[in-house]
Every structure is written in structure tokens, then in C-alpha cells.
């Protein structure tokens, strides 16, 4: 069972208290975008075997959205951080590099 800490209210809880909301750090495309851009944004998933950045919502708690870095193979949670960020903070990236050297995620690594 995952143990997550909500960066908004500070509560640490089991995964049943939260709900996952898909990939994080998506670049959104809307009107005026090409079909390819919109398709990639809408459907193409990273679905990595390893480091995954994702959105979570503290459903049975403060109700706020936040981001988490998690490993899809070991289920280790590398850390959670506010949703109002464009990329994961340095300490989380360092924690990931310590466990999975050479990891990548779209434009940042």
C-alpha cells in the first residue's frame, strides 16, 4: 500500500485516502493545435517501467491536487510536491537519480 504525504495539508495517509489523476507535467494543447499535438497530449502516455510523475488528489482529506514521483516497478514514492510547479524539485530528482541513474522524462531528466 502506498503511503503519500499531501504537500497541501501535510497529512500522511494510505493510498485509499487519495486518488490518482494520471500523468503530470502535460503540456496542454487546445484550439489551433495540430492533430498530432492534440493527439499526443490527449492519448499518448509515457507509461514508463520505472519513474513516473503523476497527479494525485487528496480525496478523503483536504481535496487538493498535488504531484508525486513514484516508481512503477518498486512502488517507491520518491516524494510529493505542489501541483503549481512546472517540474519536480531538485531534491526529488536527486533522490530518483540515487535509485535509478539515467532516468528520463520527456524534456527534463
Amino acid at each position: 500500500m502506498l503511503i503519500l504525504t499531501c504537500p497541501c495539508c501535510g497529512v500522511t495517509g494510505e493510498e485509499t485516502e487519495f486518488h490518482q489523476g494520471g500523468e503530470a507535467h502535460l503540456k496542454r494543447f487546445g484550439p489551433g493545435a495540430s492533430d498530432d499535438e492534440f493527439h499526443t497530449y490527449m492519448f499518448a502516455k509515457e507509461n514508463p517501467k520505472g519513474v513516473h510523475f503523476e497527479r494525485w488528489r487528496h480525496n478523503n482529506g483536504c481535496g487538493k491536487w498535488f504531484h508525486a514521483a513514484r516508481d512503477t516497478v518498486t512502488l517507491e514514492v520518491y516524494g510529493t510536491y505542489p501541483a503549481q510547479t512546472l517540474e519536480p524539485p531538485k531534491e526529488i530528482r536527486d533522490a530518483i537519480t540515487a535509485k535509478r541513474p539515467g532516468w528520463t522524462w520527456r524534456e527534463f531528466a
Partner: protein, 414 residues
Amino acid sequence: MKHYSAFAVAREALRYHMGWERAWASPEPKKKYDVIIVGAGGHGLATAYYLGKNFGITNVAILEKGWLGGGNTGRNTTIIRSNYLQDPSAAIYEKSRSLYETLSQDFNYNVMYSPRGVIMLAQTEHEVRGYQRTAHANALQGVTTEFISPQRVKEIVPIINLDGPRYPVLGGLWQARAGTARHDAVAWGYARACSAMGMDIIQKCEVTGISREGSKVTGVTTNRGDIACDKLGLVVAGHSGHLADMAGFRLPIESVALQALVSEPIKPCMDCVVMANTVHGYMSQSDKGEMVIGGGTDGYNNYTQRGSFHHAEETVRALVETFPMVARLKMLRQWGGIVDVTGDRSPILSKTPVEGIFINAGWGTGGFKAIPGSGCGFAELMAKGHSPLCDEFGLDRFYQGRFIDESVAAGVAH
């Protein structure tokens, strides 16, 4: 390859069973094949089988990183049914179900297909309307199903509790010719038949890279050397995204763990399959007497082949409500498989952006029932470039917004 028959059993009984051959060969990989299939699970082996049987293509290798049938083929709850809402789904699943009827005779290997019937319980007014709609759709599609009353449900499944604490049973969608089969035997039977046609099944051979020349595939890199091919079929379920990444494209797929569990064996108490989608659990009884139980997928993508504990708890809770007599059963085993889920809960049987690479994926939580139909259609797609069974399931449907939406129709694991 020797023919399996009652006579063969009698003959071997008289000579200490020393005459049985290995069911399939384990050759070293050749340098080049016409077709390479990655993934020796049910769908991969079935694809190879129908490539040989229907199209005469036998210079085929089936590569498997683990052991044959050790992925989702060996991890599912063996349910076979075809009561889908959308026309393309009903077509391929019904083709599959009808092939299951004669599969044992077809490749001379007993897959123990048991058309014991499947009931999907309707436990809300919404579900009643949904399943009545499906029954009407099935009538138009030529799939025999009917919507039955709670009393009829009780006649078919005496151990059911019609007025459970949360959701009473208001009816059910009954498909009498649906049922179960022995999952391992399906993989073994196809493997034996492929091997007999001269195809190479290469186990413990992990694909680590895909080679291209321009936009065309030329072969694969594996832990047992480079192997060239003209056409490459990726049939790897949960790891489809991983292989697509090697080939240089992304898929509308997320991989999730789906778990199942079985109880200790008990005397026969239920001779059909019951699915309760509102409370989230389904159950059948194996020939050994174990209650085979399945439930929901994990809430986040992962590759753990384990499954969240609280999902097992939810599933068991749902089944105790529906079948009070199982409350004191001990569970023997629990396991998980990695299922590849698409946005519309329908599979992808398609060409890809790389010429020569075809993908068969996205069966999500319901791939076992589709094995023969999927193999039959996908083989045609690989051999001829298109197939009436597969054309609707192309990757281009996500560009075109032409979804085959089974997520609303099925709701849960299917």
C-alpha cells in the same frame, strides 16, 4: 508430432508412459525469419498459429522473455464471453467464442472449453437498462444473450443472495454459451501446433531493441543475439508501451495491475460464471473445486504483478455480500498480472508508424476470451495488411475520435 487420442492414452498406459514426446521444440534462434512475434502468450501464439494455418506463413519465430504462457495467459480468471455492446467488439469476441467451441478438435489438444454460461448481474436500475440495451444489441449482432429475471438468476445460481445489504439483484444478462477454458492449455495447445508447423518458439529470449532502416523494421536485438525479420508483431500486453518505446512511438495505453485469487477447493456449488460489476467482483468454480475470484484493477499504473491489498479486500467484501456462503472460505493463492488499458477499453490491432511493425495490445482486463479471434484477425492483418475483424481497432481511431467505447458498457474488469 504424435496424435493425442484415447488410443494413445491406452497405448502409453501399457508401457509406463515412456512414449510421450515433448509438446513443442526449443530450438536456437535462426538469423532471419519472415515474421517475428514478440510474446509467447495466448495472443502471440494464436497469431503465429493462424499465420501458418490460414496463410501458409511458417517461417515464424515467437520470442518470449520469460516462459511460455507465463504472463497474463497464466494469470487470468479464464472467462469467455462475447456479450459486448459495440458492433466491432461483438464481432471479434463472438468470432473468438465460436473458435473456442471447436479449438480442442482444431489443434488436437484439450483446452477444456466449458460453455457453462455467464451471468452479469444487474444491481442498479441503471445497470438493468444498460444490460437490456446490450441484450437488444446482441440480438442484432447475432450473439445469443437474454436479460433474465431475479428468479431465473436464483434458479441458475442457488447460492446467490438476491437481496444483499447494498445492491439487490434486479436481473442479469445471461449468455448460455459463454463459459471458461483451461488457460494454460490454450497456450500449450497453440504452442504445440505452431511447433508442429515448423515455427520456432524461443523462450528466455528478451527483446532489448528494435532495429530500423529508415522507416522500416529490419529485426530485433535480443539477449540471444540479433534476429532479422520482414514483419514484426508486438503482442506483449502490459509491456506494449515499453516495446513501442524501443520502436520509437508512444501508445494510448497505461499498464495497471489486475489481481485474482482462488479459494481452497470445495464441493461443486456453482456451475456457471457470475460477474457482479456494481459491487466489483466475479467468481466461478474451477474443475478442482476452487472458487476463482477476480476484481478491480489498481488505481494507478504499475508493473508489480501483485495488486493492491485493499482491492482484494473490496472484491472479497463484494462476493461475501453476493454469496454469503463463501464468507468462511480460506483463500489459497493471490496473484496479479499487468494489463494494458486503453482509454476506450477496446484493444488495438493495428499497423504502426514503423513499416512492418504491427501491434496487438490494449486488451486490458479481458484478453483471455479473445485469444482465438484476436490471433485469427491479427494474423490476417499481418499477412494481408487489413482484416475485417481488426480494421475498426486501428491506432488511427484515437486521431479520429472514433472510439469503440466499452468502458461505459462494461464498467469494470471484463
